[in-house]
């Protein structure tokens, strides 16, 4: 090998992240939010009115409490952090990137912040862990995605994150895939191609929605150019929130799903 290449290698050093389960992201990273205990109705309504995607909600008050509990739905949240700026000290986005789950309701963060989060192993389909624990090949379909989630999924396999070390890879042909990763709010113009691609994957197969756009259509919610009927007919195995999701959010979510420690 020529000397120049050796020098490049030497300077490049070792770039891979040794333990993808224990990385700490800087606190400024907009990960899972925490909502304080004491949100007044006025503060809660401020946040609800401010939220551009209707991610802030209010649970009906239970008879014993004097007020209801405010919520943030990570499936709708675009992580703009405006509610935190409006209510500093009451709402805080943390550096916690482990937000993926298999149960849609678990994406909802409730004020007080001690709710169970993450994946519910009891609800993972049995065949997923028996078939895919040691090798999972995925076909990605962008259906109106803005290319940021797509780039983060590419990054999940790059020299830093290298999810290939777990046997998790993106493949070109749906025939070679064990599942589909959907990004984007699912445009009408892409709806048929998405269905065809999904149908071409042999069973058993999984569905992962990556990014807020895919989970709830996010900022594009209500657009007449979307067609999300695909989701009415299929069971979603993993929701990966984020705008876009960080590669670590995706990788940790998939590892939890297939039952890798």
């Amino acid at each position: 090998m020529p000397l120049k290449e050796i020098n490049i290698f030497r300077r490049h050093g070792s770039q891979y992240v040794p333990d993808l389960r224990k990385v700490r992201l800087p606190e400024i990273f907009r990960g899972k939010p925490v909502i304080g205990h004491y949100i007044t109705p006025a503060e809660g309504h401020l946040a609800m009115n401010l939220c551009p995607t209707g991610a802030v909600g209010l649970l009906p008050a239970n008879p014993d409490a004097d007020h209801g509990l405010y919520t943030i739905d990570l499936g709708k949240c675009v992580f703009c952090r405006e509610c935190e700026f409006a209510l500093p000290g009451k709402i805080r986005f943390t550096g916690d990137y482990k937000m993926a789950t298999n149960v849609r309701e678990r994406l909802v963060v409730v004020s007080g912040g001690d709710q169970p989060a993450g994946l519910d192993p009891g609800k993972v389909r049995k065949e997923i862990r028996s078939f895919f624990k040691h090798a999972l090949k995925l076909r990605q379909v962008s259906a109106g995605g803005d290319n940021s989630t797509e780039m983060e999924l590419n990054a999940a396999g790059n020299v830093n994150f290298d999810m290939g070390r777990y046997g998790i890879e993106f493949v070109a042909s749906p025939r070679h895939a064990d599942g589909i990763v959907i990004t984007g709010p699912i445009s009408e113009n892409m709806a048929e191609a998405l269905q065809i691609c999904y149908d071409a994957i042999p069973t058993p197969k999984i569905i992962i929605l990556a990014g807020t756009d895919a989970i709830s259509s996010g900022i594009f919610s209500g657009s007449p150019a979307l067609n999300r009927t695909f989701l009415n007919h299929h069971y979603v195995d993993l929701y990966v929130p984020g705008n876009p999701p960080h590669p670590l959010t995706f990788i940790n979510g998939v590892l939890d799903l297939i039952g890798r420690l």
Partner: protein, 512 residues
């Protein structure tokens, strides 16, 4: 005496009253376009229809690069579905996409338009019988020719689009690109949900790989309409963010070009370098793509002294390693053999189609908004674009290398202008974004930004009450997709991925 045929804007962004935009008769309008097109460095930035209750108002914005000016003029036509106009494209091909878009949206016919093809199949298109599955592909009959169809779903993790090749053996005679799969109704949503915060989020989702570029263009439009002048410090911060985005994307593209020629060392090293750059942006604002960083009127993320130090440290590291690896790439015979002479876009072709950004600059066309229509901190900066002339993959790859180095210089220069007291003051006195701006009524604002792909242009039109009534967002890809189609002619089809990556155009930016 002032020319009555147009109104001139000398700032970027800039606002004019709708009533001040001259309305010409169509023959006079066309003749004026002919006149402008005869001049060096003039191109069409936007040509769109503003539907009014009783008429269609066609508004044309032409950039006169040498004079650093924008000329705006218009013509009006009756609201008739059978409206038919003599096409400008027949004489000036760079109007092709604009006239196609108008035809697709409103059903207006342009006579003698040579390429009246769908642009993006918007949900509210005039002719609903046109669907993704019946795109009218160009075809050639011949026993020795065959067609290759690729997409919308491609082999990698990329956005959808359909490519239809007509080949003679391995040689590509013709490529036609069908887009529209990513259409999300962005321009419609800008008007439907007019809150400034909502629109800011839409702008940064037009193309997530250009979140800073598009959100800067959007902020320019609304700040101009609201009469806000951004303080110099904030302008400098925005440009630093924009140049970080350019550096990250150019390095990522360098990695991808290495992937396509199977030079793994180049790929891996550049991937790691891109990570450092986007992690720097993340350290600044909490998002690797700079989403949330640019907001009208202020910022949630003032640059702190610590972040500045981190930016400078990381740029130094990245620069040394990027120069080291790209010097190797550009001296490797096996890499040069694939890059040189491949996928050529001639200066003539680039000029004809109105190419912008990287595609123009690497084909010998002096076109860069940072120089021609300086915005934000570029006003008064005297930016000189990086220029290359051969128009091949090598030129587009080399352009990235040189622009990365240049962008680093720009960032360092801007940081040098910050005094330490300024940095301290900034931290204690944060101007928050403004979400309740009142916009000038009955006006048109235009804002252009040189994103990493090239010229981004946002236009907003307000009604009598100051409410936004029309929005146009243009990604540089809108011009440049045709460049890719031309560049692959007479190339081997196996070189298509390399040619495609060398342009790296946006699907969602085109489809909106």
């Amino acid at each position: 005496m002032m020319d009555q045929r147009y109104i001139e804007i000398l700032t970027n962004p800039g606002t004019v009253k709708l009533a001040d935009i001259p309305v010409l008769q169509y023959p006079e309008f066309s003749a004026f376009v002919d006149l402008l097109m005869g001049e060096e460095g003039t191109h069409c930035v936007s040509y769109f229809v503003l539907p009014k209750p009783d008429t269609y108002r066609f508004i044309c914005c032409m950039a006169a690069d040498e004079n650093h000016a924008l000329l705006i003029f218009s013509h009006e036509q009756p609201l008739e579905p059978s409206l038919s106009l003599q096409s400008l494209t027949a004489r000036h091909f760079q109007f092709h996409a604009f006239e196609r878009e108008i035809h697709e949206n409103f059903g207006i016919t342009f006579r003698e338009h040579p390429w009246m093809k769908p642009v993006r199949y918007p949900f509210d298109r005039a002719d609903q019988s046109r669907i993704m599955n019946n795109y009218p592909f160009f075809s050639i009959d011949g026993e020795e020719l065959h067609e290759v169809g690729v997409g919308p779903v491609h082999a990698g993790i990329i956005e959808p689009g359909h490519f239809r090749f007509i080949c003679h053996g391995e040689q590509v005679l013709h490529l036609e690109i069908q887009l529209g799969y990513q259409h999300r109704g962005v321009e419609h949503l800008f008007i439907e949900k007019p809150g400034i915060l909502h629109q800011s989020l839409l702008a940064e989702s037009i193309a997530g790989d250009t979140a800073v570029g598009h959100s800067m263009a959007y902020a320019g439009v609304v700040e101009s309409l609201a009469g806000i002048v951004v303080p110099p410090y904030l302008s400098a911060e925005r440009v630093i963010a924009l140049e970080l985005e350019r550096i990250a994307m150019h390095i990522g593209d360098t990695a991808a070009l290495c992937t396509d020629i199977a030079y793994q060392l180049g790929q891996v090293v550049n991937e790691a370098l891109r990570t450092i750059v986007i992690n720097t942006t993340q350290l600044w604002c909490g998002n690797r793509f700079g989403k949330g960083l640019v907001r009208p009127g202020g910022s949630h993320y003032p640059l702190s002294g610590a972040t500045i130090a981190e930016i400078l440290k990381n740029l130094k590291d990245v620069e040394e390693r990027y120069v080291q690896v790209t010097d190797r790439i550009f001296s490797l015979p096996s890499a040069l053999g694939r890059f040189e002479g491949t996928g050529k876009l001639t200066t003539m072709q680039a000029s004809l189609i109105g190419a912008v950004g990287m595609a123009a600059k690497s084909s010998g066309m002096y076109r860069d908004i940072r120089w021609s229509h300086p915005f934000s901190a570029y006003a008064g900066h005297r930016y000189e674009p990086v220029m290359l002339h051969k128009g091949d993959v090598w030129s587009r790859a080399m352009l990235r290398k040189r622009e990365v180095e240049k962008s680093m210089e720009v960032i360092r220069e801007l940081i040098r202008t910050f005094t330490s007291t300024e940095i301290e003051n900034r931290k204690s006195k944060i101007e928050n974004p403004i979400y309740d701006l009142s916009l000038a009524p009955s006006s048109l604002a235009i804002s252009m930004v040189e994103g990493w792909r090239g010229e981004i242009c946002h236009i907003a039109v307000t009604g009598d009450s100051g409410k936004m009534i029309h929005y146009k967002a243009k990604d540089p890809s809108f011009h440049n997709w045709m460049a890719l189609a031309l560049a692959v002619r007479n190339q081997e089809i196996s070189d298509f991925p390399l040619c495609n990556k060398s342009f790296n155009l946006s699907y969602c930016g085109n489809d909106l």
